[in-house]
C-alpha cells in the first residue's frame, strides 16, 4: 500500500514532476517542428518573388552565349552559326571598329569623369544652403531645385528644345538684343557635347543630390560647433574644420559608387539628345549597345559589348569595395 502509495506517489511525483518539463520539451519540439515548417513556409511565401528575380536578372545571363553565335532572330539560336570569339576579335582587329569603340569609350569616360568632377557641387550646395537663416527660403529653394529630378529625360529634352533650339527662347532673346544674327546651334552641333550633357545632369540632379548632405549636416553633433565657436572659429572655419570633414565619409561612399558605375551612364539622356550632328561625341556605351543591337540589328555584337561592359563594371565595383574596406574598414556593397 505504502509501496503502492509510495509507488503511486513516486510515479505520480515522477509524472507530476516530469510532466511540465516533458510537456515543455514536447512543446519546444513541436515549436521547433512548427518553426521548421514555418521557416519553409516563409520561404514558400517569397518564392514567387524569387522566381521573378530569377527570370529578369539571372536567367538573361544565359543570353551571353549569343555573343558566340552569329545570332539571327528568325533562325533562332539552333539555326544560327556558331562563330566562337569572332565578335570579340572583331572588336580589336578591324580598324574601323577599333576607332568606333575607342570613340565610344572616350565619350563614356569623359562624361563619367565630368560627372565625378561635378559630384562635389551638391555638397557645397548643401553647406551654403544650410547657412541661410530663413527656413521658408531654405524650403523654397530646396523644393524648386529638386523638382527637375522628378521629370523624365524626355521632358528635359523638351525643355532644352524649347529653350535652346534655333527658334527657341534663348536664341530669340539674344537675337532681339542684337547680340547674334545667326541662331546659335546649342543642340544640333558636336561642339561641347560632353559639357552640355554634364550641365543637364547637374541641372537635373543638383538639388536632389544635396538632400543627403543636408540630412548628414542635420546629424552633426552640435557640441562640435559650440566648442569651436568658444575657440573663436568664424563661419568659414566652422565649414572647413567641422562641416566638410564630417560630410567626407558620405561623399566618399557616393564617389566610390560613381567610380564603380563609370561605364554605366544609362542611355535615356543620350538617346533623347542624340541627332545626326552630335552622334559621334554623344554615343556612350549603353547608347551604342542600343544603337547597334536594337536599331542596327547586330544582336550578337551588341551582346558581346554589353557583356564586356558588365564584367568590367562588376570588377570595378569589387575593386572599389575592396578599397573601401581597406580604407574605411567598411564595405560599401
Amino acid at each position: 500500500m505504502t509501496l503502492t502509495i509510495g509507488n503511486t506517489t513516486a510515479v505520480q511525483s515522477v509524472v507530476i514532476k516530469d510532466s511540465p518539463t516533458s510537456r515543455r520539451r514536447r512543446g519546444r519540439r513541436q515549436r521547433q517542428q512548427a518553426g521548421g515548417r514555418r521557416s519553409m513556409g516563409m520561404f514558400l511565401c517569397i518564392l514567387p518573388f524569387l522566381v521573378l528575380v530569377f527570370l529578369f536578372s539571372y536567367f538573361p545571363l544565359y543570353g551571353w552565349i549569343y555573343s558566340l553565335f552569329d545570332y539571327r532572330p528568325a533562325l533562332g539560336l539552333a539555326g544560327s552559326e556558331f562563330v566562337g570569339l569572332q565578335w570579340f576579335e572583331l572588336l580589336v582587329s578591324s580598324p574601323t571598329q577599333v576607332a568606333q569603340i575607342g570613340q565610344v569609350l572616350l565619350n563614356t569616360l569623359a562624361i563619367s569623369f565630368l560627372g565625378i568632377a561635378t559630384s562635389i557641387l551638391p555638397l557645397f550646395f548643401a553647406i551654403f544652403l544650410n547657412e541661410v537663416r530663413a527656413p521658408w527660403f531654405r524650403n523654397a529653394v530646396q523644393t524648386l531645385t529638386t523638382l527637375p529630378n522628378f521629370i523624365s529625360w524626355v521632358l528635359v529634352y523638351m525643355i532644352a528644345f524649347s529653350l535652346f533650339s534655333s527658334s527657341g527662347l534663348v536664341n530669340n532673346v539674344l537675337n532681339d538684343a542684337g547680340l547674334i544674327t545667326q541662331p546659335l546651334k546649342f543642340l544640333d552641333s558636336d561642339q561641347n557635347v560632353w559639357l552640355t550633357m554634364t550641365l543637364w545632369s547637374v541641372w537635373k540632379g543638383l538639388g536632389w543630390g544635396a538632400i543627403i548632405y543636408l540630412a548628414a549636416i542635420a546629424g552633426i553633433d552640435q557640441s562640435l560647433y559650440e566648442s569651436a565657436k568658444i575657440d573663436g572659429a568664424g563661419r568659414f572655419q566652422l565649414m572647413r574644420y567641422i562641416t566638410i570633414p564630417q560630410l567626407m565619409p558620405t561623399y566618399l561612399v557616393l564617389l566610390l559608387l560613381s567610380v564603380a558605375n563609370m561605364l554605366n551612364n544609362g542611355m535615356e539622356q543620350y538617346f533623347v539628345f542624340q541627332n545626326a550632328f552630335n552622334k559621334e561625341t554623344i554615343q556612350v556605351l549603353d547608347l551604342y549597345v542600343y544603337n547597334i543591337g536594337i536599331t542596327g540589328n547586330s544582336l550578337s555584337m551588341a551582346t558581346a559589348i554589353g557583356m564586356l561592359k558588365s564584367i568590367i563594371s562588376v570588377a570595378l565595383l569589387l575593386t572599389v569595395n575592396w578599397i573601401a574596406k581597406r580604407v574605411r574598414g567598411q564595405s560599401i556593397v
Binding site: M40, M42, F43, P60, N130, L147, W153, I211, L254, A302
Partner: protein
C-alpha cells in the same frame, strides 16, 4: 544650426556680404530650375501664333485653354494617358506591396536560407546581363508588346526592400512576439500588425515607384511597337521629333510657319509640344510638394545603408 551658430553675434559687414551673395546665388539657382516649367505652362495657354514665334516670356498672352481640349482629341493621346496612368497605378501598387512583404520577410531570422536569398536579390542591383539578353528573354516570355512588361520587371526592387527591411528592423520586437503568442501566422502578422505600422516608409516607396513608372521611357522604346501601348512620355518624344520635321518641311518648301497659322487657337507644333509637356509634368508638380518630406525621409534611410 545657423540660428544657434550665429544667433547672438552682431552681424559684421562680412556676414552681410556673405548672406547677400548666398541669397543671390540661391535665387538664381531656384530661378534656373523653376522658370522652364513656368515657360511651358504660360506657352501652353497663350495665343498659339505668339507662342510659336517664341514671344511669350514672362506672362501668358491672350490666355485660352483651347489647346487642352484640342490636344486631348489628338490621335493616341487618350489611350497613352490610360496606359501611363494604368502602369503607374498597377506598378506602384504591386511594387509597394511586394517591397513591404519582402522587406518584412527578409527581417525574419527563422526563414530558410534567409541570408542567401536576401543577398541574391540585393546583388541584382549591381549587375545586369545587358540590354540584348534581357530583350531576348522578354521576347521569349511573350512580354514584348505586352502591357505587363511595364509592371512585372519592377515588382521586386532591391533598393525598396533595403529601405523597408531597415525600417522593420527598427520596430520593437515585442510587436511580433505578442502577435505570435496570440497564435497569428506570419501572413496575418504581416497584414494585421506590420503593414499598418509601415506607412511612412511605404509612402516613400510609393512615391519613388510612381515617379519612376510615370517617367519611364526606355521600356516603351525597346519592347513596344504596338501603338495602343504607347505611354505619354513616348508620345511626347514622338511629338518633339515630328514637330521638328514639320518645321523643317515648312522651311524646306520655302513656306514660312506664320503662313500656316491662321488663328490664335489653331494648333502649331509648338503649342502641341508645350501642351503635352504640361500634361505630362503636371501630376508631378502637384504631387511633389505634398510628398517632399517623404522623399527626404526615404533618402535619409537610404543613407543609413550607405
Amino acid at each position: 544650426m545657423s540660428s544657434t551658430t550665429f544667433g547672438v553675434r552682431r552681424r559684421s559687414s562680412g556676414d552681410i556680404i556673405f548672406a547677400m551673395t548666398n541669397y543671390t546665388v540661391f535665387i538664381a539657382l531656384a530661378f534656373l530650375c523653376a522658370y522652364p516649367f513656368y515657360f511651358l505652362i504660360i506657352n501652353s495657354i497663350s495665343a498659339n501664333d505668339v507662342s510659336a514665334l517664341g514671344q511669350v516670356r514672362w506672362f501668358p498672352v491672350d490666355l485660352h485653354l483651347e489647346n487642352y481640349s484640342q490636344v486631348l482629341q489628338l490621335n493616341g493621346l487618350p489611350m497613352a494617358a490610360v496606359v501611363s496612368i494604368g502602369r503607374t497605378a498597377i506598378g506602384t501598387f504591386a511594387a509597394v506591396l511586394a517591397s513591404a512583404f519582402l522587406g518584412f520577410m527578409f527581417s525574419q531570422s527563422k526563414m530558410w536560407g534567409r541570408q542567401f536569398w536576401y543577398r541574391s536579390v540585393i546583388i541584382t542591383m549591381y549587375f545586369s546581363a545587358g540590354l540584348i539578353p534581357v530583350f531576348i528573354v522578354m521576347k521569349t516570355l511573350g512580354l514584348t508588346n505586352n502591357f505587363w512588361v511595364y509592371v512585372l520587371p519592377f515588382i521586386v526592387q532591391p533598393f525598396f526592400i533595403i529601405l523597408v527591411k531597415t525600417y522593420v528592423e527598427a520596430m520593437p520586437e515585442s510587436l511580433q512576439e505578442a502577435a505570435e503568442m496570440d497564435g497569428a501566422n506570419i501572413v496575418q502578422i504581416f497584414f494585421r500588425i506590420f503593414l499598418p505600422n509601415m506607412t511612412p516608409i511605404l509612402a516613400t516607396v510609393a512615391i519613388f515607384s510612381a515617379v519612376a513608372q510615370w517617367n519611364s521611357f526606355q521600356d516603351t522604346l525597346i519592347y513596344i511597337t504596338d501603338q495602343s501601348l504607347y505611354t505619354l512620355q513616348y508620345l511626347l518624344y514622338m511629338f518633339i521629333n515630328q514637330a521638328n520635321s514639320l518645321a523643317q518641311a515648312a522651311q524646306n518648301s520655302g513656306g514660312n510657319l506664320t503662313g500656316i497659322i491662321t488663328a490664335a487657337t489653331t494648333q502649331t507644333p509648338t503649342s502641341i509640344r508645350m501642351t503635352v509637356s504640361v500634361l505630362v509634368v503636371l501630376p508631378i508638380i502637384f504631387i511633389y510638394p505634398l510628398f517632399q518630406r517623404f522623399f527626404v525621409k526615404g533618402i535619409m534611410l537610404g543613407a543609413v545603408k550607405g
